[in-house]
């Protein structure tokens, strides 16, 4: 009965690297492959083994999207205070500013994408998890208003843990403020493309990130209102595989398209061109 004997394979030691040195290499959370950081940056921070999209610092994102040398930042000098005297917030802000080299969790300005002038907002997951306080709300609002004034299309890349707790009610009100600005932008007949990247949750999902004329997401991004841990605690059971991922949102009708990072600029270019009028047939 040798026919039904279980095949025995020889065991080859799989070397999973446990302690990946920081600042030199990163382990892909999906396939566990270890990438040298320098190489990874050249690959747009996408794992070439499994396609996992690593979270992208705002400045790198900017470089990937705008035509070289065309970006002009606005409201860079807007800086958060600690209006509620919240324990530890002031020090935290200083540390993060130093570490990230950014003033706040969003970069805003105007630049060209394949020659088309657009208003651009790029959230920084590397600044307090991209959380939205007064300054993020104000910078987004001013960007939207400026784009409306200049009659330019608007693109915002979201990456955020949500509203920033340390500014409590001020943070919450930024949701209403940014949404209100977008309402007026929309009434002016202008195009807003929202690009949701990993992760976009909480107050950012529940305001400007979900209000695009076109909503795009990067593959595998976590997108939702409540965080998965909170939901799990509330319902007391494991969440289904793929829950709140970009593909889940596409299936449920909340985003228009999933676009890989390497195709993002091309796709945005096409969408912008499709909104540039044209000629009547015949």
């Amino acid at each position: 009965m040798a026919l039904f004997r279980k095949t025995r394979y020889s065991q080859v030691g799989t070397r999973e690297i446990k302690n990946v040195p920081k600042n030199i290499a990163s382990k892909c959370p999906a396939c566990k492959h270890v990438h040298i950081d320098k190489d990874l940056s050249q690959k747009l921070k996408v794992c070439d083994r499994c396609g996992h999209h690593f979270s992208l610092p705002a400045k790198q994102r900017l470089k990937q999207i705008v035509d070289e040398g065309t970006f002009r930042e606005i409201n860079r000098e807007l800086i958060s205070l600690d209006p509620l005297d919240f324990p530890g917030y002031g020090e935290k802000l200083e540390q993060v500013r130093e570490k990230s080299g950014l003033n706040e969790a969003v970069i805003t300005g105007f630049g060209k994408i394949s020659g088309i002038e657009v208003g651009l907002g790029i959230m920084a997951p590397d600044f307090m998890l991209g959380s939205m306080g007064s300054v993020v709300g104000e910078k987004i609002t001013r960007l939207v208003d400026k784009a409306r004034e200049l009659k330019k299309p608007l693109i915002i890349f979201s990456a955020s843990g949500g509203a920033r707790m340390q500014e409590s009610i001020y943070s919450l009100m930024q949701m209403a403020k940014t949404s209100n600005a977008l309402a007026r932008f929309s009434d002016a007949g202008l195009l807003y493309i929202s690009v949701l990247t990993h992760p976009t949750t909480g107050g950012v999902t529940a305001s400007f990130a979900m209000l695009g004329d076109i909503n795009i997401a990067e593959p595998g991004s976590l997108i939702g209102f409540a965080g998965p841990r909170v939901i799990q605690q509330t319902i007391g059971q494991q969440l289904p595989e793929g829950f709140q991922r970009a593909e889940f949102l596409l299936e449920h009708g909340f985003i228009d398209r999933i676009v890989e990072r390497k195709k993002m600029k091309k796709e945005l270019t096409l969408l912008l061109q499709l909104h540039q009028g044209g000629e009547k047939i015949g």
């Binding site: 205070l81 007064s134 009610i169 949701m175 209100n180 529940a206 209102f225 009708g253």
Partner: protein, 324 residues
């Protein structure tokens, strides 16, 4: 329970017993009852004059506190509830409909908590799903069509964090309300009556006038949530309640609300007649005040009200200017 609360509960029970006893035995105990009531009043004043933010959180969540349905009954006649979002279902955690404030037809919408544990379960403890927000938006657009002012009552721990809620786009539903409410061409008056729980509260709370009950709270996250995320310890909720600056007074200072509606000493669950009178007077003052404005004035004012909220500095620029 703090000692003041215990003492008070004990005294109130005693007064009730005594009243019942007096009725049963047909005895005149009014002197004794009066002196006990006086004592209770003193304790209440002492205790609540230094009420902490955490105590307010607990008051705002008190099960005996009136709910949206109660407030509607207090101030509206002919209230007719309307159901459903026309897309998925009817969310019992938000109620809405048409009624009259005086002679003026108004649309009233609010979060609805249960008045008993059983009702609370069917109302999902006042935590809405997307269909609740979409129903609210439908009713607000209806109000706009028929030129009716809108009154909303805010009282929710937050939007429900669950599987179905995410599948049906909780974030999108809230975002859409925030966007559309900013353009409604009729007056919107918001009353935060109990818990103003984050985005789930805000989705009914973009308006021309926002008032808050004295013991209501309003914040970006619950004190428990804040304590467990920031300090990994839900037990520090009391400290978080203080740090979040969530009381009506704090929010008045922040420019987020326009008025504080005083509550009877000890909270509105203790004297519904008093709160009815105050609420009715308040609405009958604010609604006509806003109705005097034409819609473009209303919208400009609504935007200005929102756009100034937030705190920041343009320090670097200032420094540069100073050095020039």
């Amino acid at each position: 329970m703090a000692s003041g609360e215990k003492q008070l509960a004990h005294l109130e029970q005693k007064i009730k017993d005594l009243q019942a006893f007096a009725r049963e035995q047909e005895m005149d105990l009014s002197e004794e009852i009066k002196s006990l009531q006086e004592k209770a009043r003193k304790i209440r004043e002492e205790y609540f004059s230094e009420i902490t933010p955490w105590q307010r959180v607990k008051l705002a969540r008190n099960m005996q506190r009136p709910t949206t349905q109660d407030y509607i009954e207090m101030v509206c006649s002919d209230f007719t509830e309307l159901h459903g979002d026309r897309l998925f279902g009817d969310d019992p955690a938000i109620i809405g409909g048409i009624g009259r404030l005086g002679k003026q037809p108004v649309t009233v919408i609010g979060h609805q908590k249960g008045r008993s544990t059983k009702e609370n379960i069917s109302r999902n403890f006042g935590m809405p799903h997307p269909e609740g927000y979409r129903k609210a938006l439908r009713l607000m657009e209806q109000a706009e069509k028929f030129n009716r002012p809108i009154i909303t009552f805010i009282d929710t721990p937050g939007a429900y964090p669950g599987l179905g809620a995410e599948e049906r786009g909780q974030g999108e539903a809230i975002a859409r309300n925030l966007k559309e409410m900013s353009g409604l061409r009729v007056p919107v008056v918001v009353i935060v009556t109990g818990e103003g729980g984050s985005g789930g509260a805000l989705a009914l709370a973009v308006g021309d006038w926002v008032s808050m009950f004295e013991n209501a709270v309003y914040s970006v996250i619950s004190p428990e949530g804040c304590a467990s995320i920031l300090w990994k310890d839900p037990g520090k909720a009391e400290e978080a309640a203080r740090s979040l600056k969530l009381t009506a007074e704090d929010l008045k200072v922040a420019g987020v609300i326009d008025a504080i509606i005083p509550e009877p000493s000890g909270g509105c669950q203790l004297n519904s007649q008093e709160i009815q009178k105050k609420l009715e007077e308040h609405l009958k003052e604010i609604v006509p005040f806003l109705q005097k404005m034409d819609s473009s004035e209303l919208l400009t004012r609504r935007w200005k009200r929102l756009s100034r909220i937030g705190v920041w500095t343009e320090q670097i620029k200032a420094q540069k200017k100073a050095s020039q």
